[in-house]
Structures are given as structure tokens and as C-alpha cells.
């Protein structure tokens, strides 16, 4: 039986370097990927084209803008810390322990990811608002949460927490509990295992989760507006300032939007490293 003629293109890549051959991605997949990337990049580029460059400097250094940016950075940083303190134990509980109803708890914990942020704001109001479940108790204790910077931090933490929990939980699942088991057999109590083995090993996932949480907190809008209100220097973060500037000064709004994009890009590029196979 004669062998069929071998067809197929021979890619004359005489200039490729010697070494292992990377089997790449089919070209049509790359084409779709390019479309996807354009989908995200073009609007940003389009916005950059709308910027009033002549007045850019004065637009972004106005007192209200600077106040809003500093407030955003401060609150996002505080929210990220809160996410770390709460999120790492949550990730551990979900990844490493067993308890009844675990799947339900996990779904609820990830709820802020799918809820519209405004709904998150309404939910926060019903708990921490002046008439809320806990809000009334706080009022009696003299702690004012409504309309305060604390409310901003709570709103940002609410929407950013799932990012951190997911990232850390994924890292924990991927690395498995083998090292923890070995540590235990060497005589380490659960607390020692946590501080000396679990935490150092989960650090990459922790950092990338914290970066995502920070970026999400920085851009938070709907929950903040609904729950914390909007007052310069107290609760008017940069997204809220942009929203307000749109009413009277679209140029300022676009300029500030570009600042927000730039900050987000800097944060993501410098700190976020995709978790490779270690």
C-alpha cells in the first residue's frame, strides 16, 4: 500500500535558535486573542485621545483632585490590610479544613464578586447604617460609621475580599498540605506550622491577591457612593470625584480618569506576577 503524500507547510525557520521546540498556539487563536486585547486597549487609548493635554497639569493638581487621590490611596491601602487579616484565615479555613456547609459558605464568601457594587452598598447600609443591625449598637458605643472614612474602607474591603481569598485559596490548594504534615511530624504545633511553613509558602499567592484587592479597592465606586456618601476629604474617593466632575467639567473628569488608569497600571505591572508552576 502506497503511503499518502505528506502535505503540510514546512515553516522555513532557518533563523530560529537551537534548543527545545515550544509548541505554540494555533494562529487563529492568537487572532481572537488579539481582538480581545484590542477590546480592552482601544477604549483606554480612545480616552487618552480625549484628554485636554494643554490643561492636564492644572486639572489633575486641583485641590479636590489631590485630596481625592490621596484619600483613595489611603483607604485602598487600609482595605488591603484588612483583606489580608481577614482573608488569609478564610482561605485557610476553606482550603485546609472540613466543616459542614463548607460549599455554601464558600459561595456566600465569593458573593461580592457577582453582586452589583450598589447592592453591596445597600447590604452594608442594612448592617452598619444608622438603622442597621450593628449600626445601632455602634451608635450607642459612640462609634459613627455612616458617612465616615471607615465606611469607605468597609465598602472597599467588602468588594475586594473575595479576590484575596480566591488567590490565596488557589495557592493553598495547589501546594497541598504535604509540607504541613511533615512539619507536624517534626514536632511543630499548628500555630508554628502556620507561621513557619504555611505562610511563607503561600506568600506568592498572597502578594498577587493583595495586589488585585488593592486595585479593586482603588476603583470601587457603587458601594462607596451608596454606603459612605460623598464628601470631599472624607468619603469622596477618586472614582467619586470623577463622577462628580462629569457634571460640570468633562475635561477634568477625563484627566482624572487617566490618572486612575495610570495608577492602576503601575500597581499591576510592578507587583502582580502570574503564579507559575513552582
Amino acid at each position: 500500500m502506497a503511503l499518502p503524500e505528506l502535505t503540510g507547510r514546512s515553516t522555513a525557520r532557518g533563523s530560529a535558535p537551537a534548543g527545545p521546540v515550544t509548541l505554540g498556539v494555533p494562529r487563529w487563536i492568537l487572532a481572537i486573542a488579539a481582538v480581545g486585547a484590542l477590546f480592552i486597549v482601544l477604549p483606554i487609548v480612545g480616552m487618552t485621545g480625549r484628554v485636554d493635554w494643554a490643561h492636564f497639569g492644572s486639572l489633575v493638581t486641583s485641590p479636590s483632585a489631590v485630596t481625592a487621590l490621596l484619600l483613595s490611596l489611603r483607604t485602598a491601602a487600609a482595605s488591603t490590610v484588612l483583606c489580608l487579616l481577614l482573608g488569609v484565615p478564610m482561605a485557610l479555613a476553606l482550603a485546609r479544613s472540613r466543616f459542614p456547609g463548607q460549599r455554601l459558605v464558600r459561595a456566600v464568601v465569593l458573593l461580592p464578586l457577582v453582586l452589583p457594587p450598589v447592592v453591596g452598598g445597600i447590604a452594608l447600609l442594612s448592617t452598619f447604617g444608622r438603622r442597621g443591625l450593628l449600626g445601632q449598637t455602634f451608635e450607642l458605643l459612640g462609634v459613627q460609621i455612616a458617612f465616615s472614612t471607615t465606611a469607605v474602607i468597609l465598602a472597599q474591603t467588602f468588594v475586594a475580599l473575595p479576590f484575596l481569598v480566591l488567590s490565596v485559596e488557589a495557592t493553598l490548594r495547589a501546594s497541598g498540605a504535604r509540607y504541613e504534615a511533615v512539619a507536624a511530624t517534626l514536632g511543630a504545633t499548628p500555630s508554628v506550622v502556620f507561621w513557619r511553613v504555611t505562610l511563607p509558602l503561600v506568600l506568592p499567592g498572597l502578594v498577587s491577591g493583595a495586589v488585585l484587592a488593592f486595585a479593586r479597592a482603588l476603583g470601587e465606586f457603587g458601594a462607596t457612593l451608596t454606603f459612605a456618601g460623598s464628601l470631599e476629604g472624607v468619603t469622596r474617593t477618586l472614582p467619586l470625584e470623577i463622577y462628580l466632575q462629569r457634571e460640570t467639567d468633562p475635561d477634568a473628569a477625563v484627566a482624572l480618569a487617566l490618572v486612575l488608569v495610570a495608577v492602576a497600571v503601575v500597581v499591576m505591572v510592578t507587583a502582580h506576577r502570574p503564579r507559575g508552576l513552582s
Partner: protein, 244 residues
């Protein structure tokens, strides 16, 4: 440091009961799935049997079953150390800090635990690797460091689960010599499927098949006169005339 263990896991068909005398190295032999690793995990506290009791140097490790209050010591409180097929050295610590982990967890100061670590690294003939990272070690080197780490924890019972399996064939004899030296006088359970390991290191063997003990006795005796088909197959062609 006598170790007594009895354990039943109905689901896996496991039902064993044996004793390891102080200073004795017992080899646990059997085919895959016979239950050898299960016994080790139960001893270390990583697996909970349905029923049974274990005691190490008179201290109860667990006591489970119907009609009596359950007792269970977690792994870190048992005084056992486990050395598995993979060295599982902590990748974020240096070799020295890996070996120092046991003493540190027991409460020794950082300086003292590092001293102990250096002693054991020297004993394992890998003192020159003390400052290296585990990822830069070869399989054989890593396994030696793992031995040092397990011993540095000063366990009353040492559990070795097929410590030679993942090694390069050329590295096995050296590892066997090391173990022969450091296991002397220790209470050890050595899980293996290689009869040479049993001959070289263990004074007594226990043969497991499908979760039950089918043979038990001094190594040479059992190998010279195998009573079951499995042991016969295991020791087929083994020349016992040469010295240990």
C-alpha cells in the same frame, strides 16, 4: 521506647497488631496496597483508624474503639518523626534551617538548634551543603538532609516510608550505609519493598498482605525459610550466605 500498635480500618481491610522493641529496627514489607504506608501514617498521627491502640514508651498515642473514651494525640505531640519517599525539604528555608526545624519547634533557641543541625548534617556527611537551598540539591543529597532533619527532631520512634525508592540507583548503597550507621540503637519502622534494605538495616521483618500480617520474625530466618508465597517471591534468588 517500646512501641506497641494495633489498628483496624474496616474500609481498607486493615487489621494489624505488632510491637517494636526499644532500639530495634523493624522492616515492614509487602506489595503495593498491602497497607504498609497506612500503618506508618497511623503511627505518625496522620491517619485515624476505626479502632485500635498505640503506645510509645508507655505513652498512649491513641486509643479508639467502642465502649471506651477516645484518646488521640496529634502528630506534633507524639515524639515520632516521618521520613517519606520524597525528602519534602521546606523550599523557603536553607538546608541548615531545615534540619534545625525540629529542635526549634521543640523550643530550642535559634543558635542552639543550628548547632544541633550542624552536628546532624556532619553525621549525615552533608555538612558542606548547610547553606544551600533545597532546590539546588540532587535527589540523594536531599534525602540525606531529610534523614538529618528527622533525626535532629530526636524522635522516640523513627518512621521511614520507602526512603530509597525515589533515589537514583547509584545513590542507594551510600544511603543504605548512612542509615545503617545512624539507625543503630534507635527504634525504627522501615517500610520497604526491597529485601536488601531489610537485610541491611532491620533485625526483624513484618510482612503485610492485604492489610494483614502474614509473616513475622528475625530477618534472616524469615528470608531463609519463607512461609508464604509472597515472601518466597520476594526473596527469590536472594543469597543469604554472605555476611551483613
Amino acid at each position: 521506647m517500646t512501641f506497641e500498635l494495633s489498628a483496624v480500618i474496616a474500609r481498607r481491610g486493615l487489621d494489624v497488631s505488632f510491637t517494636v522493641a526499644q532500639g530495634e529496627t523493624v522492616a515492614l514489607l509487602g506489595s503495593n496496597g498491602a497497607g504498609k504506608s497506612t500503618v506508618v501514617e497511623i503511627s505518625a498521627g496522620l491517619l485515624r483508624p476505626d479502632a485500635g491502640r498505640a503506645a510509645l514508651a508507655g505513652r498512649v498515642l491513641y486509643d479508639l474503639g467502642e465502649g471506651r473514651p477516645a484518646a488521640w494525640l496529634p502528630p506534633h505531640a507524639r515524639g515520632t518523626a516521618l521520613l517519606a519517599q520524597e525528602p519534602l525539604l521546606f523550599p523557603h528555608l536553607s538546608v541548615r534551617d531545615n534540619v534545625a526545624f525540629g529542635p526549634r519547634s521543640a523550643g530550642a533557641s535559634r543558635a542552639r538548634s543550628r548547632e544541633i543541625a550542624d552536628d546532624w548534617l556532619a553525621s549525615a556527611e552533608v555538612a558542606d551543603l548547610a547553606d544551600r537551598r533545597p532546590t539546588s540539591l540532587s535527589g540523594g543529597q536531599a534525602q540525606r538532609v531529610a534523614v538529618a532533619r528527622a533525626l535532629a527532631a530526636d524522635p522516640r520512634l523513627l518512621l521511614l516510608d520507602e526512603p530509597m525508592t525515589a533515589l537514583d540507583v547509584a545513590a542507594v548503597p551510600a544511603q543504605r550505609r548512612l542509615l545503617h550507621r545512624v539507625l543503630a540503637g534507635r527504634t525504627v519502622i522501615l517500610v520497604t519493598h526491597d529485601p536488601l534494605d531489610a537485610l541491611a538495616l532491620a533485625s526483624r521483618v513484618i510482612v503485610l498482605e492485604r492489610g494483614r500480617i502474614v509473616e513475622e520474625g528475625p530477618t534472616r530466618t524469615v528470608f531463609a525459610h519463607p512461609q508464604t508465597a509472597f515472601t518466597r517471591a520476594l526473596t527469590f534468588g536472594l543469597d543469604l550466605s554472605a555476611g551483613a
